[in-house]
Amino acid sequence: MIPKTLLLELRRIVGERHVAESRTAAELYSYDGSLAKGPPAAVVFPADARETALVVKAACRAAVAFAPRGFGTNLSGGTVLPYGGLSICLTRLNRIRSIHPHNRTAVVQPGVTNLELQNALAPLGFFYAPDPASQKVATLGGNVGENSGGPRCLKYGVTTNHVLGLEAVLSGGEVVRLGGPAHDPPGYDLRGLLIGSEGTLAVVTEVTVRILPRPEQVLTQLVVYDDVRAAAQSVADIIAAGIVPATLEMMDAPIIRAVEESLACGYPRDAAAVLIIEVEGPAAGLARQAERIRALCAANGCREVRAAGSAAERNRLWEGRRGAFGAVARLAPNYLVNDCTVPRTRLPEALAQVAAIARKYGFDHGNVFHAGDGNLHPLILFDSRDPDQLTRVHAAGWEIMRACVALGGTISGEHGIGMEKKEAMRLVFSDDDICVQRSLQQAFDPLGVLNPGKLFPETATEFADKPHAIWAGADDLLSAAERETAVAVKAALADGSALRVEGAGTAGPFGNLPARPLAPLATGRLDAIVAVDPANQVVTAGAGVRLGVLQAALAAHNQFLPLRPALGLERRSLGGIAATGGCGPERLHYGAPRRLLLGLRFVDGRGRLINAGGQVVKNVAGYDLTRLIAGSAGTLGVITRLTFRTATRPERCALLSAVGGLEACEAVARQLLGSDIGAVFAAAAPAADASAWRLLIGFEGFAETVAAQLRRAEEFCRRARLAAVTATDYDAVSGAFAASYAGIAGRPFILRAGAPADRAAAAAELIQPYAACGALLVEFGFGRVMAGSNGLGLADWRRLSGGLHALAGHILLETAPVEFKRENDVFGAPQPEWRLMHRVKETLDPHGLFAPGTLPGSGPQGAAR
């Protein structure tokens, strides 16, 4: 039931016809794509962000629970209302606001479907990377809610890797902007925390996404097998060989038959399994990758490999994959889909266990899944009209999750926890872990009205009879040092001191001046490399391990961690790199540290060891604490261990440099980045001659590809009449920017600015007057400027900070003298989202143990507010 006065108010806000309250409406909104049910008392359809905020405000005032809803296709019960309340349907917010090819972003409302966005981008030569199989009926809001993935995510990453900014309505009705068109704004990654939070933290009303130029070429192959194990083994082998296909999808016999029956896609009906494998990128060298894949599949005894000869053939192959879930609907009235993820090398075992479990419970099943990510989707066929089958199918689902977790996996790779998997959270998280996540929920939603009954097990005792967590794992090389760290934190807690977490000590103190004196907490003893798993391309190591040491260990397997933090490089500790988001211009291609982090463990402000994320490349179980802690600069806890994904060492890393004016350099960079050339970075630094700049464009990968890329880039430079065009090779670990870093390091002021990509040059021009000679580097791809300065006055800082904000960007000081910090906030002018960061800090660190006062908005300007 819902108070009459609230209904009246809702009708006033959105208009009579945009509120539905009837038996039929309750029935119609009681379900989503999952098996969960829960009818709302009313459904409301706001028209825009303003109305959404008013609706949220009204619901909060009446203390009525609500759940945001897109197209209701999620597979975990994320949009049903187990306790009744309000369904807030965002389908009317369905406009693409703007597309900016020049800075490679688009701004969309949450009710736009993924496919509508793709269709709008295609004529411009761009695409949005996440591509759930449900893309024609999955909204961007839903994608954000679930952190959705798709076939292409093997190469490009999931939703969280492609969203730059959000506008969201918080519990209470306040509208905030988190992030924006500029990368890496100061402070916590709240945007990352919100993505995948399944509508439990805020209602998203606008999304700023990153878009990419379409690749030059795509090669699609269908590989046919007579044996499922051989197919699964091929997947493991391809990953282990260091090839990164754009997609690597698998379907087994029952699915193949179902698809062929509903829509002939040309899959052989008698096959035991098929793989759809796509490689894409610059044309040069692509055929060789496809060939290597063929060879690996042949070595595993595949029956046949078919290459799609045309776009139409390719489409036909994909039609079947996209429609596989639906096709299964022909076989039985219902299916339960699990989306556990396992390490890729464990796929053969995982598939065998799933089959055994389905058999044990007497169900037919089929598999259609993102094999390259190890993300299973067993579909168990049943009839929901039979209560006995319903009970059995849930039991089978539970057992599959257990089995996958035992193999080192997780309970959900992309579909979310919702109602259906909330009790399984205990399989991957400890009570403490869950407690921390819950506390974050309470920080965002003190009233408990935002999508209640989701994500977390209801009470501690409810599932006490369930087999308990597998997460704990055995003691390893790092456990003792981790426990010592926790003891040290507890000791500090007891004696009331505050801590500064110290990594390798290569970077100065980060952030504003602490509110009270800090005692150093060293992480040097967390120096064990726990596990190098080259076949899965995953490594787990202690926070105190230096990057150089890790790189040496990985080199033995021809792998590396594609991170080249600007200052300190190999001497820096992994914890330090993660905590400060340290990376160089290569971030354009490889991403920030958080993009490479699969999971971490940290000691929180209560001295507890908390787990975040896991060991697998796709994981949406619970809130994305990994992203929150990475980049928190030691203000939320002490990171003790980290699990990164690694990459195969590129055959060749080469740099094309050319000299010209800033404008000319920027123009060439823009053309290059808007093309399908595939650069790793496009940066520029002032040349020796004061008025000229040196453009630096990097390429990494197969030698054949890099050679072709260099040739094309050279062509771009020559056409723009840039001078001194030369190519040089550089090292995969130390990178190409030693000279610039040397110029920046050691300066009393080190600045880092972010701006929308097409304003990077403007930002560089703004900063240049304050930069010391040879101490400036601008990257055009994601819009970053780094600079060292010998002196910066109060007025200078105001001007810079104001100037960057005028460009829709931001600027912060990574290093600044103590005297300067006394007078200034090193993160610049206060932003509304900072208030939320303080709330998060108070939640995870209630006693102000970790570097209190150093957060954005804690400096003199912030305090003054």
């Binding site: 119609l28 989503d32 296709t73 389908t91 639906g326 009235p333």
Partner: protein, 412 residues
């Protein structure tokens, strides 16, 4: 037959939601009541006893365009349109049927002459502006509150129905092709008379003779409304007339009629005495665009310099599987540029009399069509269903586009 008998089919909806992709109603309302998944959920809830037959079901059942796009997007290919029609029938039984639609389906549509009378009254009213079309064309009153807009949709009405100009009978042709029979749909008869005249001209040019049949309404409106019995009565009369004609082919320029006549065997299934006649009629019936394949008209050159596109009527593309035929004809026209319309096979919202009964919804569906039409930059849009022509022409006026709307036979 009760909808409960189709529980098995209904239970096959897995709620994947893929039907949302191309449902014109859902895409304009965003409301679950307007899409197959929701309609099936309600039918299931009815069967499982969670909800009861009540007027609350009217909107979910009657806002369906029956365009069939959901089935095309549904892997188990659940025939939601068919289930909706069946549910409408049960709705009429259990919740009620109004006297006005009894007037329509029992008194007016079976009798072309009465229909003409109503249309003539309407035309007078419309063209002189003296009275509202709404009042004059009493048959439309059945469609409820949105009906006030009906007269906006129909721009002007011809004063003389086609059947008055060309009464039932055999007309000599100038061609050598075999004799054909021409089935005149109600829309062509009273509104799109120009299209009818053009069709007749084409038929006469190629055939030795053309018989204009004395048929009545094909029965589709009644069927869609859920009145299966009325539909059968109308169809039975047509079957009698079709059986009597000697022509090898029965051609109609209304894709909706063609589609429905082709589905007569389903209307008279299960050992119905008329099932053999229904099958024979279905086999002989051709949509004008099909017939034109075998009798390619002389290239008229009338489209020289034009930018032409084609809108697929639901009853042609999904109802009869006609897709390439009209395009082939248009592409062959000398000097014309054919462009494909985005979402060409999306319903325009006309859906027979839908636009008259659910004006606002139909307009939202139409707006999407017009956006696509604008993007195509065509100056002529061609189609093969009178209701579509009416709707598209209304859209063009509403949006102030300089686009001509024509029936295929008018431009060849």
């Amino acid at each position: 037959m009760s909808i409960a008998e189709r529980y098995e089919e209904i239970a096959h909806c897995n709620r994947c939601g893929f039907c949302q992709a191309a449902c014109p109603i859902f895409r304009s309302t965003g409301h679950e009541a307007g899409v197959a998944r929701g309609r099936l959920a309600l039918l299931r809830a009815l069967i499982e006893g969670r909800i009861e037959w009540s007027p609350e079901l009217e909107a979910p059942l009657y806002t369906c365009l029956l365009c069939g796009a959901c089935t095309s997007n549904c892997f188990p290919a659940i025939a939601t349109g068919e289930l909706v029609v069946q549910a409408r029938a049960e709705y009429l039984q259990k919740v009620g049927r109004t006297s006005i639609h009894r007037l329509l389906f029992d008194r007016l549509l079976p009798h072309p002459r009465r229909l003409h009378l109503a249309a003539r009254a309407a035309a007078l009213g419309k063209n002189s502006g003296a009275s509202r079309l709404a009042r004059a064309l009493g048959l439309l009153r059945v469609f409820g509150p949105d009906f006030a807009h009906a007269e906006e949709i129909v721009d002007s009405l011809p004063t003389q129905p086609l059947r008055v100009r060309y009464p039932e009978g055999i007309y000599p042709g100038q061609g050598a092709g075999p004799a054909v029979a021409y089935f005149v749909g109600c829309g062509v008869d009273v509104v799109q008379t120009a299209a009818g005249a053009a069709t007749l001209k084409l038929l006469r040019r190629h055939c030795s003779s053309v018989q204009v049949l004395g048929t009545n309404c094909c029965g589709l409106p009644a069927f869609s409304y859920g009145d299966r019995e009325a539909a059968r009565r109308l169809a039975a009369k047509n079957l009698e007339i079709l059986a009597a004609t000697g022509a090898a082919a029965v051609v109609t320029d209304c894709s909706s009629c063609a589609g429905f006549i082709k589905s007569y065997p389903r209307l008279f299934s299960g050992g119905h005495p008329l099932s053999a006649a229904a099958r024979a009629a279905a086999a002989r019936t051709q949509d004008a665009s099909e017939w034109l394949q075998s009798a390619p008209p002389a290239e008229s050159g009338r489209l020289r310099g034009r930018r032409v596109t084609f809108h697929d009527p639901c009853h042609a593309v999904r109802g009869q599987g006609i897709l390439s035929e009209p395009r082939r004809l248009l592409q062959r026209q000398p000097g014309a540029t054919f462009v494909e319309l985005a979402e060409a096979d999306w319903c325009c919202g006309g859906a027979g009399s839908y636009a008259l009964s659910h004006y606002e919804l139909a307009m939202r569906v139409l707006d999407r069509k017009m956006e696509n039409l604008k993007k195509s930059e065509a100056d002529l849009v061609v189609t093969t269903c009178p209701a579509c022509i009416l709707q598209l022409a209304h859209g063009v006026r509403r949006h102030g586009l300089a686009v001509e709307v024509r029936h295929l036979t008018e431009v060849l």
